[in-house]
Symmetry: C2
Subunit: 115 residues, 2 copies
Amino acid sequence: MGTDLDSVFAALADPTRRAILSMLLEDDMAVTDVAEPFEMSLTGISKHLNILAQAGLITQERRGRVKWCKLDPDALRDASIWMQGFGQFEAVNLDAFERFLAAEISAAGMEAEEP
Amino acid sequence: MGTDLDSVFAALADPTRRAILSMLLEDDMAVTDVAEPFEMSLTGISKHLNILAQAGLITQERRGRVKWCKLDPDALRDASIWMQGFGQFEAVNLDAFERFLAAEISAAGMEAEEP
DNA sequence: CGCATAGTCAACCGTCCGGTTGACTATGGC
DNA sequence: GCCATAGTCAACCGGACGGTTGACTATGCG
């Protein structure tokens, strides 16, 4: 519904919006608080938030007079899955992934281990 | 250089361009051949290809009078990595990934095998 | 009640985007 | 040499985008 790739990728194509997502990664925030670190009008930020919400990347819940913004990674996952279709060949098996894989394999070899 | 997230995500935000990438996934193609299935002028497709190239998603090599377009997944990988920062929780492609992982692990167990 | 705070709405502005057409430049086949 | 093929360039068009300002609504505080 709000998860079509067009709007998701379009939403991600703006550095301000990506920065907002990064901020929301740490904690839910009110619109005004989101706007604070940016040199931009509150209206401008509000628009960006609407775009993110419409793309399904965040959800917004009004509580009293403050509107809380919360990251919603589902849409991101959809986009990520689409992208991984291209990575399968050779992108996937790079450095980080290979190390992760090696760790996983050796872990499977020694059976069970919980830090 | 051509790998900033702005241009990559912007390039991905168009359905025609995503379709082109999918086509190039199967094989390298000449500009005219890329254009063929679309109801759009050759110039239009050429522009899309330039946008993809500038984003680093494809490379173009001119051989004779035909310009070959080739998928270049590196830029996609960068974007994918950025996105996975948000997916850490649960994202990374469950099903397909887990099956791949299981196959990889069992393959590692039986040591060597080249089709 | 009165005022500050949180946020939206509507209008506007300049710029970029997706797409077209028409003219143009190469390269290749006969 | 001639013509078809491959592709680009430049100009143009409507519409969307990023951003601003000013007026407005609504909730909370004292």
